[in-house]
C-alpha cells in the first residue's frame, strides 16, 4: 500500500519535472535574451534604446541593470552580462575589452539655484573639495558654510572628477556622500549651500524641469550639451558599450542599433550628445 503511494508521488514529481523542462525550453526558443549591466549614467539611455529594439524585434528580451561602471566591466569579464555599460574611456589595463561609443556626456559642477556664485576657477574647486575654502564668502557668495557633496568610491563620475582636479579621494573633505545622479541632484536642490557634481545630461534635464539647481561653467566654458558636442568642455567623457570579445549575433545587432541614426532622438531627450556615425 505504502509502496504504491510512493510510486504515485514519484510519478507526479517526474511529470512536473518533465513539463518544467519542456516549458523552459519553449520559453528559451521563443525569445533571445541580452543582459546589460553597468553605469547608472548610461543605463537610462540604454533602457530606452532596448525598449525600441524590443518593439522592432518582438522575440528579443533585453535586461538592463545598473550598479556602476566597475560592475559593468566586472560582469562583462566574467560573463554575467553580455554587454557592459561604461561611462568613461577604457583604461590601458582594460584593452581585453571592446568598446563602442554610443554617446558623449559631460560632468558639471552644480550649485543650488539661489547661490550667488556664478563661476569657479579650477583651483577654487580644488580648495573647496579639499577643505581649504569652507565659506561661500571666500569665493564671492553669501556668508554661509559650504556643504561639499562627493560621490561614493568606485563611481566613474568620481574617477573622472578626481582625474580632472588631479586629486586623490582621500584628500577630499566631504560633508555628504551620495550614490547616483538623482540622489546628488536632490541633495543639492534641498541645500542652498551645497556644491556637487553630476552628469550634465541629468543636471540639464532636471534644471529644465524646475529643480532649483544651476550648472557652473568650468575654465570659462559653459556646462552645456552644445560645448560637450564641440569637444570644448574639459570635463567630458564617452558613454560606451563594452563586450569581452568581438560582438556576434544579437549583441552585435544591438550595438549597431545603439550607434545608428534611429536612436539619436533618444540620446538627445536624455541630454546626451549623439556620436556621428557615418553609415
Amino acid at each position: 500500500m505504502s509502496m504504491s503511494n510512493h510510486k504515485k508521488i514519484l510519478l507526479i514529481c517526474v511529470t512536473f519535472i518533465v513539463f518544467g523542462i519542456s516549458g523552459l525550453a519553449c520559453a528559451y526558443a521563443a525569445s533571445e535574451r541580452l543582459v546589460l549591466t553597468g553605469s547608472s549614467t548610461v543605463a537610462p539611455l540604454v533602457g530606452e534604446i532596448a525598449r525600441r529594439f524590443e518593439t522592432k524585434n518582438p522575440a528579443v528580451r533585453i535586461d538592463v541593470q545598473t550598479g556602476g561602471t566597475s560592475r559593468g566591466i566586472n560582469d562583462t569579464r566574467n560573463g554575467t552580462a553580455d554587454i557592459g555599460m561604461v561611462s568613461r574611456a577604457l583604461k590601458p589595463d582594460e584593452t581585453d575589452l571592446h568598446a563602442f561609443t554610443i554617446a558623449l556626456d559631460g560632468i558639471s559642477i552644480i550649485l543650488h539655484a539661489n547661490n550667488r556664485v556664478a563661476a569657479l576657477k579650477k583651483q577654487q574647486i580644488v580648495d573647496i573639495y579639499t577643505g581649504k575654502i569652507t565659506n561661500w564668502k571666500s569665493v564671492g557668495g553669501a556668508d554661509a558654510r559650504i556643504t561639499v557633496v562627493n560621490k561614493a568610491e568606485g563611481r566613474s563620475t568620481l574617477e573622472l572628477f578626481l582625474h580632472h582636479l588631479e586629486l586623490k579621494n582621500s584628500q577630499i573633505k566631504p560633508h555628504t556622500i551620495i550614490g547616483d545622479n538623482p540622489q546628488g541632484i536632490k541633495t543639492v536642490a534641498g541645500n542652498p549651500d551645497a556644491i556637487g557634481y553630476v552628469s550634465i545630461g541629468a543636471a540639464e534635464y532636471e534644471a529644465e524641469r524646475g529643480v532649483p539647481i544651476k550648472l557652473l561653467s568650468l575654465d570659462g566654458v559653459d556646462a552645456t550639451i552644445a560645448n560637450v558636442r564641440k569637444g570644448t568642455f574639459p570635463l567630458s567623457r564617452p558613454l560606451n558599450l563594452i563586450t569581452s570579445r568581438e560582438p556576434q549575433g544579437l549583441a552585435r545587432r544591438f550595438i549597431e542599433f545603439s550607434r545608428s541614426l534611429q536612436i539619436h532622438d533618444l540620446v538627445e531627450v536624455q541630454y546626451f550628445v549623439p556620436v556621428n556615425t557615418v553609415d
Binding site: 545598473t66 568610491e153 568606485g154 560633508h175 534641498g190 541645500n191 542652498p192
Partner: protein, 259 residues
Amino acid sequence: MLLILIFLIHESWPALSTIPITRFLADTSWHPLEGAYNLMPMLSGTLLASMGALLLAVPLGLASAIFIVFYAPPYPAAIYKRLIELLSGIPSVVFGFWGLMTLVPLINQWHPPGASLLAGIGVLTLMILPTVTLTAYTALAAVPKEWLRNAAALGLSHWGIIKGVALPAAKTGIAAGIILAAARALGETMAVLMVAGNVVQYPETLFDPVRTLAANIALEAAYAMGDHRAVLFVSGLLLMLLVMVLSGMAGLLEKRHHA
C-alpha cells in the same frame, strides 16, 4: 541563518586571510581602493545612530504604550494604536525620502550641512518607535487584571499601580521589544543612507555626517570588485555579529523570565 553566516565568512575570507585584523581597527580611514580599511568610524556611526534613536524612541514608545493601556478612553486608544501600526508599515525608503526633503533642509538651516547623525537618529527614531510601542503595549496588556485590581484595592494611586505593579510585571516583554528595536536600528539601510551624509568619520557633534555599516554596504557593494568586495563582506559580518549579540541578549532575558 547558519547558511548566511557561512556565506559571509566564505566571501570575506580573501580579505580576512590577507589583511590582518588590526588594519580594520587602526588604518587611517576607509578608502578601500587606496588600501585603507578602517571599519571603526562606521561601527561607531552605527552604534551612535542606533543608541541615539533608542534614547528617543524608548521613552516615547513606553509613554505611548502606557497612554493606550491605562489612560486613553477605548475609542481614541484604538485609533492611536492603529496609527502606530500604520507607522510600522511604512517602507524605509519613504522615511528616507521624507528625511531628505524635510528633515535635512530643516537641520541645515539650524546648523549646516543638514545631512547628519541627528537626521539619521531622527528617521531611525520614527522607524523603531512602533516596535517599542507595540511590544510594550502587548506586554502591559498581558499583565493580569486582578493584580491591577488588587493594587487598586490596596489604595495605590493610578500612577502608583503603573509604576509599582504593571511596569515591573511587563519588564521582560518591554526589554525584549527594545532589543528588537535596537536590532532593526542597527541594520536599517536605505533611510539612513539618504539622510546621514555617509562621510566616514568619528562624529564630533550631532551635526556631523556619519556612515553606518549597512549604508556602506549599500553604497559600495554594487560596483566593488576583488579586495574591495571582500572587505565589504567583512563589514557585513561585523554587522551580523552585532545583531547576533543583541538577539543572544534577548534570548537570555527570555530564559531568565521563564526560570
